[in-house]
């Protein structure tokens, strides 16, 4: 009778989960940086989020420079037009 296969470390270690989770969130922020910039901007009335806002703007600029931001915007615009949703 074959031994049951041990689960790989990526499925049993919370720190492997953490890397996956943060990678997914970081990639999504890089792909759609505008959401994070707006979110921080709205909460920065007293100026305490100036540093993270500067970082988010840096990510926004980098994403735009390599064309990732533009692709996301284009795809959203294309999808909105395809389903007749003008305000997306």
């Amino acid at each position: 009778m074959a031994e049951p296969r041990a689960k790989p470390p990526s499925s049993t270690s919370p720190w492997a989960w953490l890397r996956i989770l943060y990678a997914v969130l970081a990639l999504t922020v890089f792909a759609f940086p505008g959401g994070m910039v707006d979110w921080l901007d709205e909460r920065n009335a007293s100026g305490w989020l100036t540093a993270p806002l500067a970082v988010a703007r840096g990510i926004d600029a980098a994403s735009a420079a390599v064309g990732v931001k533009g692709v996301g915007q284009q795809l959203r615009g294309w999808f909105a037009a395809a389903i007749g949703d003008g305000d997306t």
Binding site: P8, S10, S11, P14, W17, I20, G72
Partner: protein
């Protein structure tokens, strides 16, 4: 701080590190989880944190007193006081104005004035689910199903744990409290399956439910007189898909988030629109509420133990109170009454000789499904409409077509088709794919997670509707 927001994404990312980082120190971790839950609740209204703590404290003290292991006098009285306090808090915040309005209307009809005024209090978020958890704990201790916890921290954390706090699922004390005793092991959970559960929930909420609500259902229910008969009928079916996508999304995300923190929650939906009969529907829809009502209301009332008439009465009382739980409005009471009547008929039909003879054939099953689904959709009309007048206006529009051309957006039918897919997809598919992802390693999980989240963000509308069950 609702689930599909940047606020919650950051909150969860932060919580994840804290919770697993403190996993070897179980007591410290539970204090941190309680702090996170209170912070989550305070994001709506910090004043109501006291309510949360008070509810937990009442449960803890009553639980200690009525513990089945101790033969104390007045156990039943203590249980009654505990349940009455929980229900009293709920009644004050949620129902007092409704009952005052009914009393004033009745007094006016009888020709005298009552010296009553409305209390006009803000309804605390999650108060209904909080009450369910608190009652579940003290009654289970009374029944001897679990020993009273000696740890006030565990009891307060049980009622306030943030993944289930706002809209369930309702997690029984005997399921949750033992999980607090020892630190969880990540190996007991599938990361891939729970990531897919969360992403599936985000898709159902952000794409299916939001588009249906914003583009079609909300405008139709706001002013039914502007829409054709076809649109009105389609809006009811669209709402059936919307409420399923919306509510099951919330509980899917809650179950997934809890699992990624190391805690098991029970399943809350099982493809309810496949149901054959109303009884079957309630075994598949909001399963944790159905079983809660069965165990803490229907069975204590006598269940089906005292003949057909008593069973019918118990079903009606259970469903009327289930309807009223959703909100202090006659529309919810009628919704509950319709389901109660249907359950009585369903109960009788499935025990009849006619059902034994004809009820199991393929044609009968198709008829059974069609009747059940369309009946449930009809009841959603009462659930969604803001008032009985609005229901009348809506049904009037269906009865006397105004001749207007249909303005239903083209996106509605594909969204309804997506909703139908969720009902027929193999229920074990997600678990199987999750296992494949787990075995493929971190890179595969991250790549799939990112691609799916990217697709959801591309498709999500800029306008969003709040979670429907958030208000309950």
């Amino acid at each position: 701080m609702l689930f599909p927001t940047i606020d919650f994404g950051l909150f969860f990312a932060f919580s994840f590190i804290l919770v697993w980082g403190l996993n070897p120190y179980n007591t410290v971790k539970k204090y941190v989880l309680l702090g996170l839950s209170l912070a989550f609740y305070a994001s709506w209204n910090w004043r109501f944190m006291l309510l949360l703590l008070a509810s937990g404290a009442i449960s803890y003290l009553v639980g200690l007193y009525v513990d089945a292991a101790a033969q104390r006098p007045f156990r039943r009285v203590a249980l009654g006081v505990g349940v009455a306090l929980d229900l009293g808090i709920l009644a004050y915040f949620k129902y007092l104005d409704f009952f005052i309005a009914q009393a004033l209307n009745l007094a006016h009809m009888l020709g005298f004035d009552l010296p009553l005024g409305f209390v006009n209090v803000t309804l605390p978020v999650a108060i209904s689910f909080l009450t369910f958890h608190a009652i579940s704990y003290v009654v289970d201790v009374y029944r001897g199903r679990l020993a009273a916890s000696r740890s006030p921290l565990d009891v307060v954390l049980y009622v306030s744990f943030f993944p289930h706090l706002v809209a369930g699922p309702i997690v029984r004390a005997h399921v949750f409290l033992p999980q607090l005793a020892t630190p969880p092991r990540a190996g007991d959970f599938s990361f891939g399956e729970n990531m897919l559960l969360i992403l599936g929930g985000l898709f159902k909420k952000m794409v299916i439910a939001n588009y249906l609500a914003v583009r079609f259902v909300d405008p139709v229910f706001t002013d039914p007189s502007q829409f054709s008969r076809f649109d009105l009928i389609m809006a009811v079916y669209a709402y059936a898909v919307q409420i399923y996508a919306d509510f099951s999304a919330y509980t899917d995300i809650a179950i997934g988030v809890a699992a990624l923190l190391g805690y098991h929650f029970p399943q809350n939906f099982n493809q309810p629109y496949r149901a054959l009969g109303i009884g079957d529907f309630w075994r598949r829809w909001h399963m944790t509420l159905s079983s809660w009502l069965r165990d803490y209301l229907y069975i204590p009332l006598g269940g089906n133990r005292h003949g057909a008439l008593a069973t019918a009465r118990n079903l009606m009382i259970t469903m009327l109170l289930g309807g009223l739980w959703h909100g202090a409005n006659w529309t919810f009471l009628i919704w509950g009454a319709m389901h109660g009547c249907a359950l009585v008929l369903d109960h009788a039909w499935r025990r009849s000789a006619a059902f034994a003879r004809w009820g199991e054939g393929p044609v009968a099953r198709v008829v059974d499904w069609a009747l059940t689904f369309n009946f449930v959709c009809l009841t959603w009309l009462f659930f969604r409409a803001p008032s009985l007048e609005a229901v009348g206006q809506f049904l009037g529009g269906v009865w006397t077509d105004n001749g207007a051309a249909s303005t239903m957006p083209a996106v509605v039918l594909p969204l309804i088709a997506c909703g139908a897919l969720t009902q027929i997809a193999p229920s074990r598919a997600r678990a199987a794919i999750g296992v494949v992802l787990d075995n493929r390693g971190a890179f595969a999980s991250a790549a799939v997670g990112f691609v799916l989240l990217y697709a959801i963000v591309v498709m999500a509308p800029s306008a969003a509707a709040p979670f429907i069950y958030f208000q309950f």
